[in-house]
């Protein structure tokens, strides 16, 4: 996790511990095994379900909205200025790139509109609400990347049509690649370390068992210097592609693209 996330915890720590516990429990309700998964009932009101507030903005398949942050706003458990703070928006990823956020839902209450976001970090699947003006212009993505850990194949869809597919290497059984819904947070040209091949994509997923890893264990999608291990389960949680495949994917995919790891 980045320093910002640590800051968030520091901020949360000023909240009475009982309130913090309630906030984290509430937050934990937001991530299911499928993370911030696609909402099958887009307009369902959120009675008893915080994630169900307001209107759906992204279906995470063919239409997804994302934005750059406009402030280091507090991310709250519920769409209310009095709701517990569970994180803050960040401007930079741990690799120094511009952080982006997917917009899952919007909810207008009183004079304010709130946006529900997935929060990159550990544990995976955490979501929270920020005021709409904490985000810049919404960008639209019609892409969706699916990674199937069983068939060891990744497929990129554009407007619902598969436009790219390739075999992948995923985490070994002791260091599995996490399942769930995530998104592309950054695009990097890897340098100085052949392990990552020529290009890498940062994701909002974190390896469950590698919290001490530099960068806090971000699951990347990258090339490799061991193409013979693909397809397979050779990684520490990252998703490895042959260098030709990552080169093509890198050129096709944008930040903010939803990822589903099955």
């Amino acid at each position: 996790m980045s320093a910002n996330r640590k800051d968030a915890r520091s901020a949360a720590s000023v909240v009475p511990w009982r309130a913090l516990a309630v906030a984290l429990v509430g937050a934990s309700l937001l991530f299911a095994p499928a993370g911030f998964g696609a909402d099958p009932a887009p307009e369902a009101a959120g009675a008893g379900s915080p994630g169900g507030f307001g209107a759906r903005l992204s279906n995470l398949r063919t239409l997804s909205l994302w934005a750059y942050p406009q402030s280091a706003a507090a991310v709250r458990r519920d769409p209310s200025p009095t709701s517990p703070v569970i994180d803050h928006l960040r401007f930079l990823t741990s690799d120094g790139q511009a952080e982006v956020y997917l917009a899952l839902r919007s909810y207008t209450v009183g004079a304010a509109t709130w946006i529900l976001l997935p929060i990159p970090g550990r544990p995976n699947g955490l979501t929270g609400w920020v005021p709409a003006d904490a985000l810049g212009d919404m960008h639209v993505s019609s892409e969706y990347l699916r990674v199937n850990r069983e068939t060891l194949r990744a497929t990129l869809y554009r407007g619902g049509r598969a436009v790219w597919s390739a075999p992948v290497g995923v985490g070994r059984p002791t260091l599995p690649t996490p399942a769930g819904h995530f998104y592309v947070t950054e695009k990097l040209a890897a340098a100085g370390q052949p392990l990552y091949g020529p290009y890498a994509l940062g994701t909002s997923a974190y390896a469950p068992l590698l919290s001490e890893w530099p960068g806090n264990g971000i699951v990347g999608i990258h090339g490799t210097n061991e193409p013979q291990l693909i397809p397979g389960r050779p990684s520490h949680g990252c998703i490895r592609l042959r260098n030709g495949d990552i080169t093509r994917l890198w050129a096709m995919i944008g930040v903010g693209t939803p990822i589903e790891i099955l």
């Binding site: 903005l57 207008t108 810049g136 407007g159 695009k187």
Partner: protein
């Protein structure tokens, strides 16, 4: 020759050479390239030119050479007696036209028939084989010569091998037999060898060469056939356990070829050579008939199939239709049809994108009947037809490399003009962005529309005839103009509409796209809707319940409301120079600030194209977030001043060592 079902095969092998005046022949480097049949299928015949045995010329300048050429054909394809023409034109020229072919008669006890010239026509035996000895010289120049074999009946295939005449070399006294280096057939041992005897000081004396053991070991009459080429250059043949009166040349050398048929039992036989005159010197050597073994020739099939990546339609060799941006997955299945293990070189496939070839057996040999699959990909980046085939070379131990090319697969990327048009809206002054959802506005508010036209086809398109019934006059902007929009790219039209009265505003846009020289294609966008209640109305940028932003019914504030523009361009990552803009409508003077420091103040006269614009260079800034803000003085003093901010990020370089788990 192997056949697909039975390893019948066979053939005699051996080599021989005679050398008038030579000292001794030497075991020769192995020769020959293998046979090639019709591309894409296993060879129906293989031609061997066996390791040759070269004798020196009398004055060590030229050579007398002997070769045994063996043809092995699939007996399931070529019947007994099928004719094949063996030709060695290069050797004929190299040896000044002195070439004699010795062909074992297919009828036992008939001996050989001889034929001089560039080539000879022979018939295949019941196993699909033919063996021919050729004696050349004595004035052959050293070098390699091509030997060809043409089937004289359908399907008229051709095969090649080569034979090398080595330079003369001094040898030592004794008797020597060329090892039976290539005895084949899985069920019998047809053998041949060349025997050379050298007796110092025995010039022009006669020698007897004999092998009673070999005679007995080859059980079927005539047991052993001898081809003699002595110092008198008389060339003859005979049968039995010995050959007499083989005359030594001036250097004391003599050569004979011994050929046994497929009845020869494996094992070692003693070969004797003795002078038939004083001092009656005798030498002995051994010759071993090897156990039957299959031909070590590679043979395989190679089949190429394709699939549009992600289509799930399965691999096929049938032509496919693809689209730009798609990737074609190829599979190349190699199946060994050899009777021995074989290894493969690198797969050659010109349409595989660099670095995508994977799979295959690698350095591991494929066992007979075993298959292996190579894979690769190719991204479709241009219109046209992608015809493609793979090439692979297989090698077996002791055999000669064989190269096959796969079937051809085709992907056609045909022109497919297509585009989408998507209309979104937002209430002016809202910060929540454009949406296709229904909005609720108030009289006097302005609705901003963004119509995104995206080229989803695979051809560049020109767009025209943009229409939008609810765009207010002269507010339509953007679009590509006369420029072509490339595949995958998009263009955005913008316009606005002031909500002048209550009611429901349902609206859609339309545009016409056409590839140059092709028929135009018109499309309409989705419909967007703004509801303006007659009474006070909430404002709901994204749907759901809304804050109160009540305006008196019928009150129109076009100036103030329409001049609540957004700050554009101050968001997201900025790696170099970039511009920040804001509409100048209704603004008399504006000041830009960066991280709280005033950058510039502009007045209305400095607006261009209806916008105030400043240019920033993020490279001069530290890494991290930076805030751009504006403060305004409005032209209409009754309108409140505008304050807008935007935050952009100066990110670090994209070229980093990622902090990923790997």
């Amino acid at each position: 020759m192997r056949s697909s079902a039975l390893l019948l095969a066979v053939a005699a092998t051996a080599v021989a050479a005679l050398a008038p005046g030579a000292t001794q022949a030497q075991p020769v480097r192995s020769i020959s390239t293998g046979a090639v049949a019709g591309a894409g299928s296993p060879a129906t015949c293989v031609v061997h030119s066996l390791p040759s045995f070269v004798a020196q010329g009398e004055f060590a300048l030229t050579a007398t050479a002997a070769d045994v050429i063996e043809v092995e054909c699939d007996p399931n394809i070529y019947g007994t007696g099928s004719k094949i023409k063996l030709t060695a034109s290069q050797l004929y020229s190299r040896c000044k036209g002195k070439l004699i072919w010795f062909v074992p008669d297919t009828t036992p006890s008939q001996g050989f028939f001889k034929e001089a010239g560039r080539g000879v026509s022979v018939g295949l035996d019941a196993d699909g084989n033919a063996t021919v000895a050729v004696l050349a010289g004595p004035e052959c120049s050293a070098g390699e010569s091509l030997v060809t074999a043409h089937m004289e009946e359908e399907p008229f295939e051709s095969f090649t091998t080569s034979f090398t005449v080595l330079a003369p070399v001094n040898t030592t006294p004794g008797v020597f037999a060329l090892p039976a280096s290539q005895v084949e057939d899985s069920s019998s041992s047809a053998v041949a060898t060349i025997i050379e005897a050298e007796f110092p000081g025995g010039s022009e004396k006669n020698v007897r060469i004999a092998s009673e053991e070999l005679y007995q070991r080859c059980r079927r009459a005539p047991h052993v056939r001898w081809i003699r080429m002595d110092g008198s250059e008389s060339r003859s043949e005979g049968e039995g356990s010995e050959v007499r009166e083989v005359q030594l040349d001036n250097n004391g050398n003599a050569f004979v070829i011994a050929i046994g048929d497929s009845s020869c039992a494996e094992g070692t036989s003693l070969i004797e050579a003795d002078l038939e005159a004083k001092p009656f010197t005798a030498f002995t050597t051994n010759f071993t008939v090897l156990p039957p073994q299959p031909t070590g020739e590679p043979a395989f099939t190679i089949e190429k199939r394709e699939e549009i990546a992600g289509s799930g339609s399965g691999f096929t060799s049938a032509p496919l239709k693809g689209s730009l941006g798609q990737t074609v997955d190829y599979q190349v299945v190699v199946t060994s049809t050899s009777n021995v293990a074989e290894t493969f070189g690198e797969l050659s496939d010109p349409h595989c994108d660099p670095g995508t070839i994977a799979g295959g057996p690698g350095a591991s040999p494929l066992a007979p009947g075993q298959s292996s699959t190579y894979t690769c990909q190719h991204a479709l980046t241009a219109l046209g037809t992608y015809a493609n085939e793979a090439t692979l070379t297989g090698t077996a131990v002791g055999g000669t490399p064989v190269t096959h090319t796969s079937n051809q697969v085709i992907v056609e990327v045909a022109p497919e003009p297509a585009f989408t048009i998507e209309k979104r809206q937002q209430l002016a002054g809202s910060t929540s962005g454009f949406t296709a959802l229904k909005l609720t506005g108030a009289i006097g508010q302005s609705v901003e529309y963004a119509i995104v036209v995206k080229n989803t086809g695979n051809e560049a398109l020109a767009f025209s005839n943009f229409t939008d019934a609810h765009c207010d006059s002269h507010t339509i902007a953007g679009g590509p103009g006369a420029a072509l929009v490339q595949p995958g790219a998009s263009t955005t039209y913008t316009c606005s509409h002031v909500l002048a009265s209550s009611g429901t505003y349902v609206n859609e846009a339309g545009v016409t796209g056409a590839a140059p020289g092709e028929a135009p294609l018109a499309q309409s966008s989705n419909r967007v809707e703004v509801n303006v209640p007659g009474a006070a109305s909430p404002l709901s940028p994204l749907g759901g319940s809304a804050p109160a932003n009540q305006k008196p019914a019928g009150e129109v504030l076009p100036v103030c409301e329409a001049s609540r523009p957004l700050l554009r361009g101050a968001s997201g990552p900025k790696r170099g120079t970039f511009t920040v803009q804001i509409s100048s409508l209704g603004i008399k003077r504006i000041s830009f600030y960066l991280d709280g420091h005033k950058l510039k103040t502009l007045d209305q006269s400095q607006a261009k194209g209806g916008r105030f614009t400043i240019t920033l260079d993020s490279r001069k800034l530290s890494y991290g977030a930076h805030k751009v803000s504006v403060k305004t003085r409005m032209s209409n003093a009754s309108c409140a001043a505008i304050a807008r901010t935007g935050v952009f990020v100066h990110p670090s370089t994209r070229v980093v060592v990622p902090k990923f788990t790997g």
